[in-house]
């Protein structure tokens, strides 16, 4: 009996010790900053210097993207163009300085216009003849041929100091004219930014004085972090969905959090079909795949009703987007397409075969919850039309390596984002493999059309060319658009003023306050 008492006493002591330990360290945690000092803790998916979004906090672009995807003034305040789009005169904002005191002038702008387009998929560099510095505030840009997309593309030029870059398109000195100044940076881990108190756009002066940028690579950890209040917001510095869709309903139900879903700007998740190698060389197989996927079902089940089904390549908000949806779900048509190529289920195992060869796709995706779930969904969906899917999930690097080697039949791909014209320049012309699978440059006509849409200043011509592009893509099926994946911010409920920007890369904190 005495022993029992002693045991109890020991347990109590241990418990006291443990709680004492936790209590002490708990008390050390610092209080939140006072009202005037507002710190926003951002949970990010990527290294600060690696993504395209974080840099928009430090740098300014030459022009702004507006909601209809046209351009507005920023560092370039006014522009004039001649009738055939071969000459542009740009007027620059006066009195803008970099955070280290250097002035922004025509020389700096000229450097940026010449240096960055290669790394930002801007087509104008191919037609650029000369840039003439008229005076400190005025530039004249001349092209060899007419180029109508120039001003739009300037929205992708984020202005750095001329001596702040290396020969490979890397920024070596992160000094910009933007709303924030980079104070501290740990590769792959964190960054600290403080407000640029002399920011030239006084109307856009942010209320947040300090940003703690924390890299959280694991998607579940990211969600946990915002749930437990460790970070104020996630999804802010990425142009894609950074949390599993499955979490969204749960996050929405959480009273401590607010979930903003962007209705207008986002990306369309598109899967790539390896049309240059293997079974997917057969157009009918590609068609069957595109027809065999029930996108409504996909979105309502494994995407939890958060994503919207679509079979378009670009958002309908885009002026030149295709008029109608592309290939829609149709089981009979899908089966017919397969039959047309001679695929039949001869042995009754549920899978079709041709020349004794079972139709089996190698599906390669990188390891995220959404990819795994969609993969299993597709596997199940394609089984219904008799196609077997060998799902292989790898880490991001391995996936990229395999895609680049063409070692896949079906894979995730890069959506048609950025300005559509830039995307066409990048992957619309490509007929080989890259990190995102295979390009959409399925024939020579795609090259001509890409040329046309970027050069012309005439919306009619552009529209015609785009319609042809959509026809080609819908007919050839180099890729299968599946769903419209919105941008989603998840933030603590005391944070107000988070907003989505038309330029998907831009992070605009000008109206954000922490209550």
């Amino acid at each position: 009996m005495k022993k029992g008492v002693r045991a109890l006493a020991l347990l109590v002591i241990v418990a006291v010790l443990v709680t004492g330990f936790t209590g002490c360290t708990g008390a050390k945690a610092k209080d939140k900053a006072s009202a005037t000092e507002q710190t926003l803790v951002v949970g990010a998916a990527k290294d600060f210097k690696n993504g395209s979004e974080p840099k928009t906090l430090i740098f300014d672009s030459l022009t702004d993207s507006l909601e209809d995807m046209s351009s507005g003034p920023r560092l370039v305040t006014e522009w004039e163009k001649n009738a055939d789009f071969t000459e542009y005169t740009l007027k620059l904002k006066e009195g803008v300085t970099f955070s280290n005191g250097e002035k922004f002038n025509a020389q700096v702008a000229k450097f940026n216009i010449e240096y960055w387009p290669v790394y930002r998929d801007c087509g104008y560099i191919k037609k650029l003849k000369s840039i003439e510095v008229i005076d400190d505030k005025n530039l004249k840009v001349s092209f060899n041929e007419s180029y109508g997309n120039f001003i739009d593309e300037l929205s992708k030029i984020w202005v750095t100091l001329p001596n702040a870059v290396d020969a490979k398109g890397n920024i070596t000195d992160w000094t910009g004219t933007g709303p924030y100044v980079l104070k501290d940076y740990q590769a792959d881990m964190s960054a600290t930014l403080i407000r640029n108190e002399t920011y030239w756009r006084t109307d856009k002066m942010p209320g947040i004085t300090k940003i703690d940028y924390k890299v959280i690579t694991d998607e579940n950890s990211r969600v946990m972090a915002v749930k437990s209040g460790d970070v104020d917001v996630i999804g802010l510095t990425e142009h894609y969905t950074v949390m599993p869709f499955a979490d969204v309903p749960d996050l929405q139900a959480n009273k401590d959090l607010q979930v903003s879903i962007c209705e207008d700007y986002g990306t369309i998740t598109t899967y790539s079909l390896n049309w240059a190698k293997g079974v997917c060389m057969d157009q009918n197989v590609r068609k069957a795949i595109a027809l065999g996927i029930d996108r409504d079902m996909l979105c309502s089940t494994v995407l939890y009703g958060v994503a919207e089904p679509t079979s378009r390549f670009v958002l309908p908000t885009y002026k030149f987007s295709q008029q109608e949806e592309g290939l829609k779900y149709d089981l009979t048509k899908a089966k017919a397409a397969l039959e047309a190529s001679g695929y039949k289920d001869g042995d009754g195992d549920g899978y079709v075969e041709k020349d004794g060869q079972k139709l089996s796709l190698k599906m390669v995706v990188s390891d995220t919850q959404v990819n795994r779930s969609v993969g299993v969904f597709l596997q199940d969906a394609l089984k219904k039309i008799g196609i077997a899917v060998d799902l292989q999930v790898f880490d991001a690097t391995t996936t990229k390596t395999m895609l680049k080697a063409g070692d896949f039949d079906l894979s995730t791909s890069h959506p048609w984002t950025g300005t559509v014209v830039s995307y066409l320049y990048w992957r619309g012309n490509l007929n080989t493999y890259d990190d995102y699978g295979i390009g959409y440059g399925v024939n020579d006509e795609m090259n001509t059309l890409t040329e046309t849409v970027s050069v012309t200043g005439d919306d009619k011509v552009r529209e015609e060319a785009f319609n042809k592009i959509w026809d080609i893509q819908n007919d050839f099926v180099a890729g299968v658009p599946l769903y419209f994946s919105q941008r989603i911010f998840v933030a603590q409920s005391n944070i107000e003023g988070l907003k989505f920007c038309p330029n998907t890369a831009e992070v605009d904190l000008s109206e954000v306050v922490i209550k």
């Binding site: 009996m1 022993k3 998607e219 979490d247 749960d250 089940t301 919850q369 299993v376």
Partner: protein, 280 residues
Amino acid sequence: MRKYKVKTKKQQKNLIWIWSGLLLILLILIVFSPYIFPDSNTINYELQLQKPSFQHWFGTDEFGRDLFSRVFNGMRTSLMYSLIIEAIALTIGLAIGLLSGYLGGKVDGFFNYIMNVFQAFPTTIAAIALIAVLGTGDLTLIIVLSVMGWVAYARIVRSETLIFKERDFVLGARAAGGSSAYILGKHIFPNVLLPVLPLATLMIGHGIMAIASLSFLGFGVQPPNAEIGLMLKDSATFISRAPWLLVGPGIVLAMVVALINALGDAIRDKMDPQKQMMEI
């Protein structure tokens, strides 16, 4: 004086029977899971993320698949791979341990040193590094864990061989002119096999856990195959919405491994009566 209730031999035996029975039931469910639960991979979106109920004891996952049947399907993969891994590791370990212990000298020194090197790398990390070389996949998983697993066997076989080498019957056989191969195969091998048995049992549990860990990190079994680590990885996403996704696989995994370990302990006790004596 305090009175302790000491379990009688009969009670102990009964307990062992209960455990063995439980393990047997689990093993039957696991081994024959494809026949007992033929539609564990059948997708039914109407049943998405259902709470545990009478029809679905562990609930359902995001594809509406019955978690209970999937858990056993998953354990089947784990158990099968673990058995293969331990069989390979045991073979390598036996061969090296026997040679090392019997031949001694430079051979022993060499193998000892190799074993030290192998033990310098934590299993998970070494496995991931090797998987990086060989590529992710189920086969790689088996190879890698076998390569990392033999050392434990080799050590115990070696020390047992050293003991038996000096035993009279071995010395006698040697004096009678038996060849080394004959002595190793006929006299030492059967004797060292016995002490290895409890370790081998314990290592099956370890193997299951190692496979689960690697799959959890994304270096193991591929979907849509059910595997415990993979299922737990998915459950991480649904942890607040559907915590039961974490519970079911955890319970079965813990039960199977615990029971296998208990079996290993029982075997060891049986073979080491001294321990039992000590307990008196």
